[in-house]
Amino acid sequence: MKQFFEGSHAVAQIVRLCSPGVISAYPITPQTHIVEDLAQMVADGKLDAQCVNVESEHSAASVVLGSEACGVRSYTATSSQGLLYMAEVIFNIAGMRLPIVLTCANRAISAPINIWNDQQDSISLRDAGWIQLYAENNQETVDLHLMAYRLAEDKSIMLPAMVCMDGFILTHGMEALDMPEQALVDKFLPAYKPLYKLDTADPLTMGALAGPDYYLETRFAIQDTFKDVLGLLPKISEEFRGVFGRDYKDCLVEEYFTKDAERVIVAMGSVCGTIKEVVDELRKKGKKVGLLKVISYRPFPYARICEALKNVSKVAVLDKSVSLGAYPPLATDIKAAFCGKKKAPKIISSFVAGLGGRDITLESIRDIFRKLTVREVNGEFIDLKPELLKEKYED
């Protein structure tokens, strides 16, 4: 039965259902409701967990690193500045193969300071070795957390996972959704069994210095494991469908009317909901348009994307982040997927929208479809206000 939830509260619920033993986070807008809710649940005796109220995000990540290393399922959440502050620990956690799950409430990065949504924060850490899954709506957010723990803790994977939800849009958005039941969660998600842990009964050293003779192979191992993730996530999604009834197909991408489309937008996150509305509207008018939603950003599903878009003649990639000085991140990955391929879209244009919470409207999406012409466009900013660019700073 569907219940009405604010996104953050839904996340707190699903995390509670996953029974973490240690939770540690530092408050940052717009993640705050998640952690406040979890603290209240512990205070009310609804969740048996140790809540460590740390003095910074760097310490929050370090605390869950320590607790996960002892074999206890752990959880943290952050956003923007907080994610960057713990960046060092993020790389550390992946390198140590600790399957922590983290919620990133996507928010823009300072300077200038801005608390509204874009995806620059999690995108900036795409190289760290974390699985990154992007949610379109709050139902997906809930379901992705459950699948994230299952995937991360798989004996063949043992990599941390970041579930990315658009700040304010999803965290503070109200939605009617199906919250899984505890019994089914317990069926789907077994107890965490670490590869190795800190235990006085069986001492070992974690985090040794790995010189030039050893470091390379640890990175190769993670890279290789991401291939296994691409193979395992569809199986987990199938299992999820069996238990909970919701079908995410391979959970790598979602194809929305792409089969016969002439123009497709590729995007991640909540903007996909807006794009779907425009696709529906244009399809009623007989236009052959579609949306390819990317769910798994890391590992990047190159093969799946080629399969989905190889017959589409014009593709627009919508990035909610920007790699300053180069093509936008998602666009770069999409172009790389088709580089050297015989069957590829004729045009792959890229657009940047929504930075700092700039609203992406139905009209913005219609505009992108319009701009998908024979002329390839690279990194064009949508809904730019030229009057703001007239500022002059002179003596």
Binding site: A49, S59, L209
Partner: protein
């Protein structure tokens, strides 16, 4: 050498390393039911270069500034598992990883009241990266980033009073110790581990390479630091000074002349006077001088 030592030979510390002596004494006093979170630094590098490890207890190294936070996570996990009462948690690091870059995590750990012993191995500079000055580098010390020269007498600042900062957090136990006084160090470690809550022990450990003295003088140098009053051995319980090792004070010059890091001072009696003042202030403040026997 024990048949099953907790800290094994074959590590790559410099010959005569004071930190190697102290680290071994600490873990032996703590025993096998101990989990260690270690900061980046000399100790971490010379004990755990893959595929070697000198540690026979569970040991984790994460980053430079976060061993107090990692230890907090370990302590929380042990509490969740119901194992905290039978397992010691020790976080350890050098003066750099504790007093400077690690101060935030340390303070947070103290404030939250975790049941953790933090041991700081104070060799008075960032030794592992090449003897750069730290917040615990003493006044007038020659280091690579506070070098003595024609316009400088070395480090212009006094040691950050980290034991007092720790005590000001109101934690149950704070102590300073020295690599020269083995039993005192082990007594303090055992005492700390018998108390619940955050504890801090700062151990003075000479570094033959960074301080520039002969490898066989490590103990002598450490003893002189204590005996001149420059490194008071004290204990605080719940923020109040509760114990001190009394000394028959020696002049600071005896300590300075055995280490080439102070060589530039030997021609400057004014600077030596300033350092003597530091020692005299310590002696007065902590009541370090052995009182003369009362006349009958």
């Amino acid at each position: 050498m024990k048949t099953n030592p907790l800290f094994k030979p074959g590590h790559t510390a410099c010959a005569g390393c004071g930190q190697a002596i102290a680290a071994r004494l600490v873990i032996e006093a703590a025993g096998p039911n101990t989990i260690i979170a270690n900061s980046t630094g000399c100790l971490e590098v010379f004990t755990t270069a893959y595929p070697e490890t000198a540690w026979a207890v569970p040991w984790i190294h994460s980053l430079f500034e976060n061993s107090a936070a990692v230890a907090s996570g370990i302590e929380a996990a042990l509490k969740y598992q119901g194992k905290k009462d039978t397992t010691n948690v020790i976080a350890q690091g050098g003066d750099g990883g504790t007093a400077d870059i690690g101060l935030q995590a340390l303070s947070g750990m103290f404030e939250r009241g975790h049941d953790i012993l933090y041991v700081c191995y104070d060799n008075e500079a960032y030794m592992n990266t090449g003897v750069q000055r730290s917040g615990l580098t003493p006044f007038d010390t020659n280091t690579t980033t506070s070098p003595a020269g024609s316009t400088s007498m070395g480090n212009p600042r006094p040691k950050k009073p980290l034991p007092e900062i720790a005590a000001a957090h109101g934690i149950p136990y704070v102590a300073t110790a020295s690599a020269a006084y083995f039993q005192d160090l082990q007594r303090k470690v055992k005492k700390a581990l018998s108390i619940k809550g955050p504890k801090y022990i700062q151990v003075h450990v000479p570094c033959p390479l960074g301080w520039r003295h002969e490898t066989n003088l490590t103990l002598e140098v450490a003893r002189l630091a204590v005996d001149t009053g420059l490194y008071p051995l004290v204990e605080y319980e719940s923020g109040v000074l509760s114990g001190r090792r009394q000394i028959a004070p020696k002049p600071v010059e005896e300590y300075l002349k055995v280490q080439a890091r102070f060589k530039h001072l030997l021609k400057s009696p004014d600077e030596i006077k300033k350092i003597q003042e530091i020692a005299d202030n310590n002696i007065k403040k902590y009541g370090l001088k052995v009182e003369a026997a009362p006349q009958t």
